[in-house]
Each structure stands twice: as C-alpha cells, then as structure tokens.
C-alpha cells in the first residue's frame, strides 16, 4: 500500500508523524467489520438507531398514516357537503375538521414525507454510506412522530385547532380564540419546524459534502438538485413562519399586541409572514416530487433525461421565484394595485421554469421507448393533473381574476390539483417504484393499475366540478349551504367521487400489506434504473464500497460498476476506525477530502426528541411541572449531545482504499460541522430579518401613531455602548482563535471570560435602556416589536456567552487545543454573525423613529 499523496496537504496536518490506519492488517475482513459497525440495534433498541435509511422508512410510514387520517377527515367533510343543509357534522366539528385536514396534510404529511424520501434515498443516490448528521434526522423524526400524534389526537378531545390552516389573527388571537385550540396548532407547527429544519440542515450539508468521489455538481442525480433547492427554501422560508408563530404566541400568552389593531398591531403582518413561508411551502412540497419524477422517468422511458441542465436551473429558478409570490394570497386585502401587480408579474415568471420542466419530461418520453408500468401511469396522471393545476395557478395569479375566485371552491380545486397532482401522484409513483428497494419485493402491477385508475378518475371527477362550484359562488370553509344556490349537483358529484379516490388509496394500502408475503421478488435493479440506489443493499452500511462516479447515469454508463462495488474495489471497503464512517467530499468537485466518523445508535436523539415533544405539549396544556421536568431532560440531552461532538481523534490519516489516505478530522471550512453552522445561521438570519420586517411593517400600517405619541424617542448613546461591547467580545473571540493556534491557553481563557462579561454587560445596558425609555411590551405594537427584537438579540448574546463558557470548559479539560479546535471555530461563526447583526438592529431601533417622526 503506497500513499499517492495526502488529500489536501494542509500545514496543520502533521504529515511527518502520520501513521496511516490500515485496518486490513489484522482481524476479520472489511465486510465483516462494516457489518459490525453498521449493525442495527435489536428489538426495542431500534429507537436508538439513527441511520438515515432506517429513519427514512419510519418517516415515510408515519407520514403516510397522517395522510390516511387527514384523508378520512376529508371524506367526512364531503359527506357533510353532499347535500344542502345536512347536519352530519356541526359547525364546530366541521371547522376543526377542515383546519386539521389542511394542517395535517400540509405540515404533518406533505413536507415531512418528501423530506423522508430524501432522507431515505439520498445517501444511496449520492453513493455515500450516510449523510453527516444522522442524529439530527433521528431527532427530527421522533419529534415529528410524537408531536404529530399528540396534535392529531387533539381531534378526539374536541380541542383541535379551528381557525383554518393559515390561522389568520385576530380570529386566532387571545380575544376571539381563548381556548387552547390555537395553541395546539402552534405546537404542531413547532414540531414540524424542528423536523423540517433538522432535515434541511442534514440534506444541504449531506448533498454538498458527502457525495461519491467524482460526483461533481453537474453529475449529481437530479433529485439531489431538487432537494438542495428545497432544503435551501426551508431554511429561508420556515423562519418566517417560526417568527410569525412566536409573535402569535407572545400575543396570546403575554398580550404583546402584534396583530391587534386596537393597540397598533396589524392583522396583515401575520399574512405577510405566513405567506412568505406559505407560498414557497407549495414548492417545497412540489419540488421533491418533481425530483422524484425526474429520477423515475429515465427508467421507464429507457432514455436519459432530456435537459438535465435545464431541470437543474429550473429547480433553482423555482426556488427563488417562489419567494416573490407571497402576496399572491393577499390580492383581496386592499393593498395598492401596483404592489399587487408586482406579485402578479413575478407569479407569471415562474411559468417559465415550470414549462421547462413539463416539456423536459415529455421530451424524455419522446426520446425513448416508454414502458407503461404502474409508476409511469402515476407520472402521466401527474403530468395531466398538474398541468391543469398550473394553468389555474396562472388564473389565480391574475390579480383581478383572483378577486372572484379567492377563498372559493375554485381555489380549493386549484390547490388540490397542484398538491394531489403535483405531489400525491408522484408520491404514489415513488411508492411503487422504490418499495422493492426497501422490501425486496414488487408491488402488484394489477392492483396498481386499479389503484391508479380509481384515484385518477375519482380525483378528476371530484375536483374538476369544484372549479364551477366556486365560480357559481361557493366560498370555501362553509359547513353547509342553501339548496337554492345552484351548487347541489356539483357537490353530490364531488362527494361521491371523493370516495372513488379513497378506494384507490385503499387498494394501495391492501397491496402494501399483502406484497410482503406474496409480492414477486425484485432482484437487483428491477426497473433497470440508471442511478446508484439500486447498488446499495439498504441495510446498514449500504454500499460494499464507495464507487467513484464519472457519469450522471453511472449504472448505465460505467461498465463493471456493480462488480467493482461488490468486490470492494471502491473507496472505504473497510471500516478503518471500526466505527460508522463516511467519505467527505468537496462541495463542487466531489473530490474526497476526509473520512468522518458517524455516530452510531444512541439514546441521545430519541430522548431529546421525546423530552422536547413532551415538554412542548405539557406546556401547551398548562401542565407546568411536567413541562419543566421534560424541559430539563431535553436540556441535559442536548448538552450531552453537544458535548459528544468534536471528539478526540488521532492525528492520523486513514486508508480510504484505492491507494488514497485521508485525514479523520478537519477543523476548518472543510468540516461538515462548519457547513452545518453556516446553514443554521442563514436560517437564524431569516428569523431576525422577519422580526425586523415586523418592526418596519407595523410602521407602514400605522404611520400616524407609530411610534405612539408621548413616547420618548430612543437615543444613540446606549446602542453605541452595546455595539461597542459586542464588537469587542467578537474581536476577543477572533483573538482567542489565534492565541489557541499558538497554544496560549491562559490568554485564550482570558479572552473567553472577558467576552462573557461584555455580553452580559450589553444585555444589562439594553434592559435598563428600554426601561428608561418607558417602552412597554403590552401597551402598543411599537413596544412589542422593540422588545421582541432586542430580546432576540439578547438571546443571541446569551448564547454567545454560553458558547464562551462552553469553550472555556472544554479548553480547561483539554478538549480544545490547537488542532482540535472545531468547536471554537463554530462558536466563532456565531459571534461573526451576532455582533454585526446586533449593531444593525440597534441602529435601526435607535434611528428609525427619528427618520419617520
């Protein structure tokens, strides 16, 4: 074994002393070591497993159960609407049902299940053993599964949310919704936010950093492109709704009037923040589905994807443009026509990338000789239904036309065409396509055709008439209607065929249950797909060895790939550290950089998730003691988790196979931890930006009384002091990093201590400043916004101070040194973000009132 050269030749790497780990030298062979390292825990300990492939299956199953549950709600509602004046459901129950149907379908089914597919498939599609933060995925899954179940079961106690899935205040404010129904909704969303953000971090860093060697950005499976865009959208979009949720809870729990017009708040603030997330949300759901379609099509068309580059750029375009559409949902709110028209024009622009995608898929079909199997049937159904949904989308994006159809059954029909067409049909295609990968058996072709035709006919016959129902005047969210309005027949048809659609889903469920016994054995690559996932055996370590990739369609175009993979002629045919490992590659070129050791089974993620879910739920229900206990358990679990990161590692290279040795550790921007922090900070920036937006927006809503008369305007002295203190603290952190490089432990410690003091001082000055100004949080929206913004920055400083203490502790225990300093550098990233942002926020708070008054 000769080493050609080290991977990147950093000076920090003590090459001279390097002893390369060669695990082959003794003990059992590589395959056995892999099997041991990646073994699944047995029996009940399966909850400790964190492997993404394992979590992905659980994720999908859970999401599908929520789909069935919310579907049953829909059927019950369709019974109620079948005839005018029925009393099958009373008003209150109906309102809870439609709210839960929307909430569960959007938040507990659609977003989680597309992320679940990514979590399940991406490791093998990218040709890696696993993505970098498996515990994060596990945390997201368990929080979602436990929390989602709690939220769904609120239906059985009559405390389900009843404000509609977009929960407009003031209807959902403390005055008009005093019950806990709304809090249950916020709770549910909280879990989705945890799981979505957790999965998004994992996906972004995973896609960028753990690809097969040689898999450049241009060779990634197209699904990875779609998921990269989707995860990016989650990181930007989710924070807006997180912010809106926080403001709503602040108003409900503490009376801070953000949405209460009588105290200077504005209901439209919620709508802006909610739809800033809510519109991209539709594309967050659609894009992964489109990615799956793009993955499946080549297998059935027997041709390479036409316009891979075009699809990648279309995905990026959609990702960006979808953020320019949020007022799309607010055309009737009386905003100036010109403002509305900007959004109308932006909405129209998104038609181009959408058109590109649809025609690229059709061209792919033309390019080959299509084989009409069940997944392709669902894809064709998707193309048909989604096209109609997209075209009605152009209609509702036309401002004046939307004035007629907004909040009517036309819109109900439109978004079901978009979501069921654009997401559920591809999802069923994916179920039929990838089930053999998981279970090793094929689903029934015959039952599949039945399921498809029932779903296709049932869907169209149920939802096409709704366009007309809406145009004939039926608003959405009404539990009954008069028989004289001309909607009777249309509703009967919709109700009847909704059951036909349900019958199709039922057949699929039956098929899933029976195929484990009687399904045909799938064998290797049953669809003759071109992508890597069929090489993986989907248990534990997945690939025998990690194959270098030279093509977008490796299975078709790299002869001998399978043989080489099985023979262990790829990278990492062994487990040099005897732990779970993955290859870290460059985000652009896919050049191997490092071997990371991945966490194996452990209780941390499960415990943290359970405790978080229990704590949040108990808090919502007012069970303070339980909430506090659960919170403490969660805190301990998270701290333990953090403590266990940045592990001690030998300064060694490890044999990665194919004559390459790679380091086991990196303390700079090559490390996955650094990338994870950057992604999180982008998300955090979006939260702060949302609060800043709220502050500025409330002025545009009430320019005459904002800030309220008689209030002393803030001065610049305290902001300057605070900014200075924070800036010094940041600089000290930078200095600490440099000093640590030179092993100056005492001086480094001193920097940490001073920065803690400075952060604490800044918080105290800010506190007394606001009190001195007499700004109250509950009297007026101005005070509420100022307190929220400064509170957020104080929290950032407190976390920064906590990080300094954390580093101090680890330094003292010898867990930070000049080589092992990733923790310090990640905390440094936090300060690089917090210090300038704090100064900007302070400048805005001090300066803006002077500008406007």
């Amino acid at each position: 074994m000769t080493l050609t050269r080290d991977a990147y030749g950093k000076e920090t790497l003590p090459l001279g002393s390097a002893r390369v780990l060669h695990p082959q030298s003794s003990g059992p062979d590589g395959l056995e070591r892999l099997a041991v390292a990646w073994a699944l825990p047995r029996r009940f300990a399966f909850v400790t497993e964190v492997n993404n492939t394992h979590i992905g299956v659980l994720y999908i199953a859970t999401g599908f159960l929520f789909f069935l549950g919310a579907g049953v709600l829909a059927l019950l509602m369709r019974i109620q609407l079948a005839y005018p004046g029925l009393a099958f459901l009373d008003a209150d129950t109906y309102n809870q049902f439609f709210t839960m149907h929307g909430t569960v379908m959007m938040f507990l089914f659609a977003v989680p299940i597309v992320e679940a597919f990514a979590v399940l498939l991406l490791p093998s599609l990218l040709g890696t053993r696993d993505m970098p933060f498996p515990r994060l995925s596990a945390l997201g899954y368990w929080a979602y599964a436990i929390g989602g179940t709690l939220v769904f079961s609120s239906l059985f106690f009559g405390i389900a949310p009843d404000g509609g899935w977009f929960m407009y205040p003031p209807l959902t404010g403390p005055k008009f919704s005093p019950g806990i129904n709304t809090d249950v909704w916020v709770l549910g969303l909280g879990f989705v936010e945890i799981s979505a953000v957790a999965a998004a971090v994992e996906l972004i860093v995973g896609i960028l950093k753990t690809r097969a060697p040689g898999m450049t950005l241009g060779r990634m499976p197209i699904f990875a492109w779609y998921m990269l865009v989707t995860a990016g959208m989650i990181m930007i979009g989710m924070p807006a709704v997180i912010a809106a949720d926080i403001l709503l809870e602040l108003e409900r729990a503490f009376g801070m009037p953000f949405y209460d017009a009588t105290k200077g708040g504005d209901p439209l603030l919620w709508q802006h923040l909610f739809w800033l997330f809510g519109h991209p949300e539709v594309y967050i759901i659609f894009l992964p589905a489109a990615g799956m379609v793009s993955m499946m099509l080549p297998s059935f068309a027997r041709a390479k994807l036409v316009g891979y580059n075009w699809l990648a750029l279309a995905a990026i375009s959609v990702g960006f443009l979808s953020f320019g559409l949020w007022v799309h949902h607010m055309f009737t709110t009386g905003l100036p026509l010109l403002s509305l028209a900007f959004f109308s024009a932006a909405s129209s622009a998104i038609a181009i990338p959408m058109g590109i995608q649809v025609f690229a898929w059709i061209a792919t079909l033309w390019d080959g000789k299509p084989v009409l199997r069940v997944p392709l049937l669902f894809i064709l159904g998707f193309l048909f239904i989604f096209t109609i949904g997209g075209l009605t989308g152009v209609m509702v994006a036309s401002v004046p036309y939307d004035w007629q159809v907004h909040d009517t059954y036309f819109v109900v029909a439109h978004f079901h065409y978009v979501l069921i067409g654009g997401m559920v049909f591809p999802l069923f295609a994916a179920f039929y396509y990838w089930t053999p990968l998981i279970t090793g058996r094929m689903l029934s072709e015959r039952l599949g055709r039945w399921a498809f035709w029932l779903m296709f006919v049932g869907f169209n016959a149920a939802f096409l008439p709704m366009h007309i129902t809406g145009l004939r005047g039926m608003p959405r969210r009404i539990y009954t209607y008069s028989g004289e309005l001309g909607w009777n027949w249309l509703n009967v048809i919709s109700s009847a065929f909704s059951f036909v659609f349900a019958a199709g889903v039922l057949i699929f469920v039956v098929d899933i249950i029976r195929h484990r016994r009687v399904g045909r054995k799938a064998g290797y690559n049953p669809w003759q797909a071109p992508s890597l996932e069929w090489l993986s055996n989907q248990v534990g370590h997945g690939f025998r060895s990690i194959m270098p990739i030279r093509s977008r369609y490796p299975v078709w175009e790299q002869p001998g790939l399978k043989e080489d993979e099985v023979a262990g002629r790829g990278f990492l045919p062994d487990a040099p550290t005897r732990e779970r490992e993955a290859l870290v590659t460059g985000p652009i070129t896919g050049e191997p950089e490092q071997i990371i050791r991945l966490p194996g089974p452990g209780w941390t993620a499960f415990l943290a998730a359970t405790a978080t879910a229990a704590g949040l739920a108990a808090g919502t229900l007012g069970l303070t003691t339980i909430a506090m206990i659960a919170g403490a358990v969660a805190a301990v679990a998270y701290l333990y988790w953090l403590w266990s990161t940045d592990r001690a590692l030998p300064r060694q290279l490890a044999d990665a196979g194919r004559g390459v040795a790679l380091p086991l550790y990196s303390n700079d921007s090559q490390s996955v931890g650094w990338w994870g922090m950057v992604v999180l900070l982008i998300s955090d920036a979006a939260v702060v930006a949302s609060f800043a937006f709220a502050y500025l927006f409330l002025w545009t809503a009430r320019p005459a009384i904002w800030p309220p008369a008689g209030l002393q305007l803030p001065g610049f002295l305290e902001p300057a002091l605070i900014s200075a203190a924070v800036a010094v603290a940041w600089v000290l952190f930078e200095v600490a990093d440099r000093l640590n490089q030179r092993d100056r432990r005492l001086a480094t410690s001193f920097c940490f201590i001073v920065s803690v003091v400075l952060a604490g001082g800044a918080i105290v000055i800010g506190w007394s400043w606001l009190h001195g100004l007499g700004i109250e949080a509950t009297r007026h929206s101005y005070g509420a916004a100022v307190w929220t913004l400064l509170g957020t920055m104080a929290l950032h400083l407190a976390i920064g101070a906590g990080m300094a203490l954390w580093c101090l502790l680890r330094l003292g225990l010898g867990m930070i040194d000049s080589w092992r300093c990733l923790t310090l550098r990640i905390c440094l990233l936090w300060w690089r973000f917090t210090a300038p942002v704090t100064a900007l926020v302070l400048l805005m708070i001090a300066g803006f009132p002077h500008v406007v008054s």
């Binding site: 960028l208 100036p336 403002s339 985000p587 070129t589 002025w699």
Partner: protein, 126 residues
C-alpha cells in the same frame, strides 16, 4: 486526484471561495430579489407617505425611478450572463455551470423585465 477523472474545476480552498462558487449561478436571482424588494418596498412606503394624493409630476418622477431601477437590474444580470459565457464557452467541462448560470440569468431577466408591465400599466397607490 489521480485515480479519479475529475473536472478541471478546482475545489476552492477558502471559506468564501466555496460559497461564492456555489451561489454564483444564482446571481441573477439575487439581483431579481433585490430589485423586487426595492420596488415593492418603495411603492409601499411611497403610498404610506401620501404619493396617491401627490401631483402628477411627483408620480411621474417616482415611476421614472422605478423604471430606471428595473432597466439597471436587467442590464446587470445580462452583463453577468455575458461575462460568464465568455469565461466558460471554451471549457466543455464547465458547460453545466455555464448553462445553469445563463439560464438562471435569463429567467431572472424576464422576471425583472416583466415588472415593467405593472410600472407602466397600473395606477400608483389606487
């Protein structure tokens, strides 16, 4: 890596270099987003400040500014596209990057230029 046939593209070794190379293909959309936010916020603020009641001259000036911003944004994006095209056209291994960059710039340009319709056709602050 000698055992791999990698693109000629070289992995940037600096923090910012990687982020920059990752985000550059979406340059057009960052401009689009900035332009979109600026015209939207300018309109909202102008209407709050009473542009609706202002004289014809003020409104024309306002619209002219919007118009100029739009043309400038579109021009910047197109220049970026031309620049990247000249950089990459002779490098077959950079074709993917080039197509994505130019395509994004193109769609972003359409998105920016289409904002002319509202500016030219829709009454201000109505």
């Amino acid at each position: 890596m000698s055992s791999l046939e990698l693109d000629n593209e070289i992995e940037p070794r600096s923090e910012m270099g990687t982020l920059h190379r990752l985000l550059d293909p979406a340059f057009g959309f960052f401009v689009w987003a900035a332009h979109f936010l600026v015209v939207y916020i300018m309109t909202a603020v102008a209407c709050v400040l009473g542009l609706g009641a202002a004289g014809e001259g003020v409104r024309t000036t306002f619209l002219t500014v919007l118009l100029a911003l739009t043309v400038a944004a579109a021009a910047i994006v197109l220049l970026h596209a031309v620049w990247r095209y000249r950089q990459h056209r002779d490098l077959p291994e950079q074709r993917f990057r080039m197509v994505v960059t130019i395509g994004n710039d193109g769609i972003a340009t359409v998105g920016i230029v289409w904002q002319l319709f509202p500016i030219l056709l829709v009454p201000v602050c109505a």
